[in-house]
């Protein structure tokens, strides 16, 4: 609970990518079109000391990354417009050091395999256990830091 004080809890309407420009860029980016879900998740992660920015589609995620590279992106697969697999592919192409954790309600074995082949750090099926997710995100972040230092 003491960790939760690290960053203010975001409230109300979803955060637009533009809003985050003025603030300190977060180490994590959450990408999901299901706003109720992703905003709540973001809040809970923040309570656990994992402050994250939120975008709601693939294009938003890519433009966010063009401006700022987070350590870890948590990515949904089934989204309107560009789907998560495509976003993953572009992230890994343009930002190879960024770790991507996939979290989807539509996961199939083929997609999981594909995601792992494309370099996803982890793959979760929704609903996700918050403890597991936060642990994985920390791991991924640490992994990137190690790589960055190395």
């Amino acid at each position: 609970m003491s960790r939760a004080t690290g960053r203010a809890v975001r409230q109300g309407a979803p955060l637009k990518t533009g809003d985050s420009e003025n603030k300190m860029p977060a180490k994590f980016l959450l990408v999901d079109d299901e706003e109720d879900y992703i905003n709540t998740l973001s809040e809970r992660l923040e309570l656990r000391g994992l402050g994250a920015d939120v975008v709601h589609d693939g294009a938003g995620a890519l433009s966010y990354l063009a401006r700022h590279e987070p350590d870890v992106v948590v990515l949904d697969i089934r989204m309107p417009g560009m789907d998560g697999i495509e976003v993953l592919r572009q992230i890994k192409r343009d930002h190879p050091t960024v770790e991507v954790v996939m979290a989807t309600g539509h996961g199939s074995a083929v997609e999981e395999k594909l995601a792992r082949q494309l370099g996803a750090f982890a793959y979760f099926g929704k609903p996700v256990d918050i403890a597991e997710l936060s642990a994985t995100m920390k791991e991924a972040s640490a992994a990137r830091r190690r790589q960055g230092q190395g």
């Binding site: 609970m1 939760a4 299901e34 109720d36 879900y37 709540t40 998740l41 809040e43 809970r44 309570l47 089934r78 309600g105 539509h106 996961g107 199939s108 074995a109 083929v110 997609e111 395999k113 099926g125 929704k126 609903p127 996700v128 918050i130």
Partner: protein
């Protein structure tokens, strides 16, 4: 379709005894087909045979009738000819004498004795000879009896001779008291005086003439007078000079053969000939059935042949038709089973897709509920105690638990529909089963279950996915444990199936599965454990076994036992990857 799965369960009904449907096909169709084949084949085979035999029967019969009459006819006409010759010859001799010698010469006892002597040299059968004047008085007589001056004027033969010039008499006893007959010729001298030369013959000569050298024991040949009196002894008609039983046949100039009823209702064949210028009728009698003996033998052979042929044809047709129909039915069954399998696979695939779709759609709202409830807990944890805090907390926790339950269900649904590459390793089925049993060890011990694993000799190891196989057998054995009472029995039997398959049979002595449930036991959401199960267990098992290239079948007897059999290939077939990707 689940019929293929039930194939082992449903006892094969036989089409010739049962009139119900199996797999939507009425069995009487086979019976009808069988009937049609049997009827048509029998007709084609037996009808010509019957026609042939019947035609032959009548032809042979006719030929035989002709043939049996032939020798009789021949006998009669020969007898007629020789009798004619016999009488003509003797009458001619008498005629010559009466014309050659004058009345006075013939009246001379010495002259007639000389003539008789010469005659007797030629015709030994002659008994005596005599000259009779126009008044019927015997003027001269040569012979063993003293018959001079006997009056013959009342005798039939004398009248005939006077009237027609020559006559042959019936056999009679006369003055001499032994059977004999007379030949007489008549002439007149220049003075117009008529006289008759008469010779007597012993009747035995006729018997001698008729003697049958061919078949004396079967035929009865005899001579009858036109009054129906026997002129010779007869085997069937009686003694000489008695009336014969046989009716007189119609008068005919030539010899004839007729059939007529004889003694005891037996038909007899009668050959006869009226001997012209004599009172004699030659007759030869033979029993028809004696003559037809050959025919009867032939007829019996013919009927035996017919009977054996028909029996043989019927057997061949019945056996052949039954065999053919069985083959047809087997082929139908095979095709139907294949059809069912294809249908079932397609159905399972679509159910799988539906399950996956539902699971996917539910996952997203579940995720929201999860996060919202999670957030509530997070906030509650971060908030100081207030009066209703614990109550709210205890309300939120079940929400999270329920989400977990739902998530488990959707995950199982997805697993059911899942298509993932198989991992392959060499597996000894026995070890795998024992491994699986070790998971359930505690339950077995606690409930005192009798669990046995029997392995046939030389069961090959198989190449397959260990994890999936564990899942399959865990599920099946778990179900078996669930079905038996405490202390119940679960037997597992591992055997080789041909060269390329291994079968594992799990049999319990539990409650059993009613036939109506056997149909859909492998379908998702089918469950009988209303409260506990989700009904995905066996459908997943089914999917897994199919995925591994195997087959799973179930058989059960309610209240007695249930048997699941999994047949696995020793080497899995390579499955098409692209179709799986499309399904994902």
């Amino acid at each position: 379709m689940t019929e293929s799965k039930r194939a082992a369960k449903v006892k094969k009904k036989e089409w010739w005894t049962v009139d119900e449907e199996i797999g939507g096909r009425p069995l009487f169709r086979y019976r009808r087909l069988w009937g049609a084949i049997v009827t048509s084949t029998l007709l084609i085979a037996i009808l010509p045979l019957l026609v042939m035999v019947v035609a032959n029967y009548y032809q042979y019969h006719k030929a035989f009738e002709e043939e049996i009459k032939q020798p009789i006819h021949l006998l009669a006409s020969n007898a007629r000819r020789s009798l004619h010759f016999f009488f003509d010859e003797r009458l001619a001799a008498l005629n010559f004498i009466i014309h050659e010698k004058s009345y006075d010469e013939l009246c001379d006892q010495r002259e007639l004795t000389r003539i008789f002597k010469i005659l007797k040299e030629n015709y030994a059968d002659l008994v005596d000879v005599g000259l009779i004047d126009a008044d019927g008085m015997q003027r001269t007589y040569v012979g063993p009896f003293g018959l001079r001056d006997k009056d013959y004027s009342k005798q039939e033969w004398f009248k005939n001779a006077m009237l027609r010039g020559r006559a042959v008499s019936d056999v009679f006893l006369g003055y001499r008291q032994f059977p004999h007959f007379a030949l007489a010729v008549r002439t007149e001298n220049e003075e117009g005086q008529a006289y008759v030369l008469r010779a007597t013959l012993d009747a035995d000569i006729l018997t001698t003439l008729l003697e049958d050298k061919e078949r004396p024991d079967l035929r009865d040949a005899f001579i009858l007078s036109r009054q129906g009196v026997l002129q010779t002894p007869s085997k069937t008609q009686g003694e000489i000079l008695t009336s014969a039983a046989v009716t007189l046949p119609p008068l005919a100039a030539e010899s004839r053969v007729i059939e007529q009823p004889g003694a005891g209702g037996r038909i007899q064949v009668l050959g006869y000939a009226y001997i012209t210028n004599t009172p004699f009728i030659y007759m030869v009698l033979e029993q028809r059935d004696t003559l037809l003996k050959g025919w009867f033998a032939l007829r019996n052979q013919l009927l035996l042949f017919l009977g054996l042929s028909i029996i043989l044809i019927v057997i061949v047709v019945l056996v052949g038709s039954t065999y053919t129909i069985n083959k047809i039915r087997e082929a139908d069954d095979k095709r139907l089973a294949l059809l069912h399998k294809v249908e079932y696979t397609a159905k399972m695939a679509s159910i799988g897709r539906l399950a996956a779709g539902v699971a996917h759609e539910i996952n997203n709202p579940l995720a929201i509920i999860n996060e919202k409830a999670g957030l509530m807990t997070d906030i509650l944890d971060a908030t100081e105690d207030f009066p209703t805090k614990e109550k709210i907390k205890s309300s939120v926790q079940p929400i999270i638990d329920s989400v977990d339950r739902c998530a488990k269900i959707t995950r199982r649904l997805l697993r059911f529909a899942k298509h993932i590459d198989l991992r392959r390793e060499i597996i000894q089925m026995e070890f795998l089963i024992k491994e699986v049993l070790s998971f359930l060890d505690k339950e077995a011990t606690y409930r005192a279950l009798d669990v046995s694993v029997d392995v046939q000799e030389r069961v090959p190891s198989i190449e397959s996915d260990r994890g999936r196989l564990q899942q399959v057998f865990l599920n099946i054995i778990n179900n078996a444990f669930g079905a038996v009472e405490d202390g119940g029995r679960v037997n597992i039997f591992i055997a080789r199936e041909g060269d390329n398959h291994v079968s594992v049979t799990v049999r319990d002595n539990g409650v059993g599965i009613p036939p109506e449930n056997l149909h859909n036991i492998f379908e998702p959401f089918f469950t009988t454990k209303e409260k506990h199960g989700t009904g995905l267990g066996l459908s997943i098992t089914y999917g897994l076994v199919e995925k591994l290239g195997g087959k799973i079948t179930v058989d059960s007897q309610v209240g007695e036992w249930t048997k699941f059999t999994v047949i696995l290939p020793t080497k899995p077939e390579v499955k098409d990857e692209s179709s799986e990707a499309a399904a994902g």
